[in-house]
Amino acid sequence: MAWVEAAVGVTRVERPHEKRGGALLLSALALPGVVPTDANAQSAPDKGIFEAQYLSYRDWQPGRNRMKVDAPAFYALMPIGDTWVVEGGMVYDSMSGASPLYFNVLSGASVGDYRTAGDIKVTKYVGNQAVSVGAFVSSEQDFLSRGASLNVQYFSEDRNRTWLLGVAGTNDRINATNGVAPNSTRNSVEFVVGITQALSPSDIVQSNLTYYTGHGYYSDPYKPLDTRPSDRQTWAWLTRYNHYFADADATLKLGYRLLLDSFGSTSNAVDVAWAQGLPWYGIAVTPALRFYTQTAANFYKNPPFPSGYVDGDNYSADTRLASFGAITAGVTVAAPLWDGWNVSLRADYYRQDPDWQIFGTGSPGIQIFAARWFQVNLTKNF
């Protein structure tokens, strides 16, 4: 009895054009349910990812070094079967230095703390949908944040459009080491609706609208007299657009974010990045520029501290709530190594200046603030 070697060529139904001929096969693929597209959930990643990252952050104001953060982080994504994906991350930050300085009069409370945070997300792909359930926790000496999220993605039949609906809830517990506001809590819920649309093989646009509402302790316990509203709502609208230039092997990435905050501040951010593939060893260089501007919260008071403070009213002298503009300039260099490993190096420089506020005037009396990041990423695809 002759066994015929015919096993070759019968696999990979999903790429019939790779094989010769086969007019009937191409026609048959149009029959409903003969290929497991639904069960395969083509959008489910079929490769795992492991990533190790090290971030080094320093910031300073004229003549004064402030905060240092060193943060190693790990992330892993693992497909399980064809329709499940589990992903999770861990980060460990160690911070040291002065807490943010708002005016020379005050010496900031010294910060020497570390933070451990982790999150896990499980996604199930079912037909044209994916449902993700996630949980995260972040713990510091004086702060514990826990939350859970539920996201539903809906993919169009041609996979060119993805709808996103999501909800997340967070519970924070604040227990400042200085005894201010002991056992305070903050609870919030966030809703997101979004769409991602491939306009052409080289154009993709994404737009997300996020509503956040929270209640609880929003003040900064380490800043004297800091009193903020106990309710906060924000609306954030984020739109991104990427265009790939095939001739140049480059991608233009544009982004815009508008954020309206019930604290009274409005912020605008514009991102521009150019990811340029180089003709050597698969190296890509991505210079990026971000311009950010925000108006002050309506209870922010200009220096000198504590001018404008009225007992019983909301009050903050935190310069993060002031009116200013900021520019971030950075560059990322990424290169494939071997055996599925990739490395990327990233450097960013951030500079914040009240004079760069373009919607109105910047808050007076605050100093220029600058920061830099270095980040190393090692990624393995398997």
Binding site: M1, A6, V10, T11, S27, L31, V34
Partner: protein, 288 residues
């Protein structure tokens, strides 16, 4: 559907295998009920009953099958014709003594054959002449087998095969990774395997002159009928085809029987693996 059917599942616990198989069997039963010629309430019966009269509305699935049948018709230069089932009225393979229909008996039936005359679109189909009929022989059972594999895979199963009346679709290898070895029946000796194919996740279908036939005066008359003459094909005893989908394997095997001497070039052009037994018992292609 005639013949023996089997769903073979490995590498799963009994409960989940049973649940998956129940879903799959329910879908086979659904397709059988929907496309049976023998049930008055099937969509095929309604289409056929309206021949020469009104158009009948069809759903997406039926339209997809009609479109595939149309492709088979085109790829076979008209030999694969889902309107040729009317020839069964003249060919009765169970009749004793056997009877070879005369030209006079066949001529009016040949008038009723002609897929290219059928009016159809996304929404409906109309058979233009009273007495015309369509059936999904060579497609329907094989389509069901592919759907069974999809349903089992959807249940997370990765090892097994489905066998619907001799048409086999694998959904993955054996648990140890080795292919399923599927034997091809000798067309002249029941229970003797002539050859075999290794299947991992594709399909094997066979069309042969031994399914329904009679022998008369030393000549084999089988159920695969040339729509141009109304007479049985004689070139092959059987043709077996391996393709990624069972519906492709099945229709290619049937078309190969109908194309007779042209079968090898047709099968090669379709990019499928195949094994044919010619009328004299020669196994082709000889090089394999």
């Amino acid at each position: 559907m005639a013949g023996e059917h089997e769903i073979h599942i490995a590498g799963a616990d009994a409960d989940s295998a049973r649940r998956a198989a129940d879903d799959a069997i329910a879908d086979v039963a659904r397709i059988e009920a929907k496309y049976s010629r023998y049930r008055d309430d099937s969509i095929l019966s309604r289409i056929n009953a309206a021949a020469g009269k009104q158009a009948v509305a069809v759903d997406d699935e039926t339209h997809a099958l009609l479109r595939y049948a149309d492709q088979c018709h085109a790829q076979s230069d008209g030999l694969f014709d889902i309107t040729s089932g009317v020839l069964r009225r003249a060919w009765n393979f169970r009749r004793e003594p056997p009877h070879v229909p005369s030209h006079a008996e066949l001529a009016p039936l040949l008038e009723l054959i002609g897929w290219h005359d059928v009016e159809w679109d996304e929404r409906c189909v109309r058979l233009p002449r009273a007495g015309m009929e369509i059936d999904f022989g060579g497609i329907g059972k094989e389509y069901a087998a592919d759907r069974v594999a999809t349903i089992l895979i959807g249940h997370g199963l990765r090892h097994g095969f489905v066998n619907l009346g001799g048409d086999v679709r694998a959904l993955g290898p054996q648990v140890d990774g080795t292919p399923w070895r599927v034997g091809i029946r000798h067309p002249r000796a029941q229970d003797v395997a002539l050859a075999g194919f290794d299947l991992v996740d594709g399909a094997l279908a066979t069309s042969g002159d031994y399914e329904r036939y009679f022998d008369l005066d030393g000549k084999r008359y089988c159920h695969i009928l040339d729509p141009r003459t109304g007479m049985p094909v004689t070139w092959w005893q059987s043709v077996s085809v391996v393709a990624p989908l069972c519906v492709v394997a099945g229709s290619c095997a049937t078309i190969a029987m109908l194309r007779e001497a042209d079968a090898p070039s047709f099968l090669d052009a379709q990019g499928v693996a195949w094994l044919g037994v010619a009328a004299d018992g020669t196994v082709l292609p000889a090089t394999r």
